[in-house]
Amino acid sequence: MTFNEIKEKLSNKTVGIAGCGGLGSNTAVALARVGIGKLIIADFDVIIESNLNRQYFFFDQIGKKKSFALKENIIRVNPNCIVEAHDILLNKDNIPNIFKNCDIVIEAFDLAEMKQMIIETMLQHYSNIPLIVGSGLAGWGKFEEIAIEKNGNIYICGDRINEVSEQNPPLAPRVGIISNMQANIVLEIFLS
């Protein structure tokens, strides 16, 4: 398939991204680069300096809302990508409405509690929509521990071991690997 054929196939697809931090910002930009038609992104948070060790934002965006700043960055990469940005704390009540028209949803939260919440919510409302989750990305190295596990329509990317802590922070390389694995699965689903 040529890149023009790939772009054509992706141009009418919509991907939801739940969270605009390390996983969400990098996955969104990767998908915009390859020509996804529409991204629905959501986050309640504001960019702080410590986010810049892994998140697709710039120093001069500190203090901005992540959802709106990410929309700006996506459009700078690919102005043809339609971006619907929600400045909102996602929960089990608003997720079904925000992501109802998505072909695929990316889980890109930080907290395990939130990851659990979106999996249960999507299984309850949209078990037919593939959900691509990131779990286990802290630290550096340890390539061999990173894998994809498929469970029905749920894909788990990561090492499923390395939880974020003070001594095991999330860093650009490994977060970038996992987020691009999530974007890669999106392509695998849409192009196969």
Binding site: K115, S135, I156, E163, V164, V175
Partner: protein, 67 residues
């Protein structure tokens, strides 16, 4: 009984057990879990009342923080 657990067939001596017992037997100690039995989500408050029996398809997905 035989069940499918996370895509693998596993054999247990007991004929049935609840989700809490399954987690204990398998030593699944992660704090945040999503559990499905035959594609139906089992919530935490149902761990004692939902039983696994021969032929069931059980998924235990554990989640850890970072993103």
């Amino acid at each position: 009984m035989k069940i499918t657990l996370n895509n693998n067939i596993e054999t247990f001596e007991l004929d049935s057990f609840n989700i809490s017992e399954l987690l204990k037997i398998k030593n699944f100690t992660f704090r945040m879990l999503v559990i499905k039995v035959n594609e139906k989500v089992v919530k935490r408050e149902e761990y004692d009342s939902v039983f696994v029996k021969n032929g069931d398809n059980v998924s235990v997905i554990h989640l850890i923080s970072g993103g």
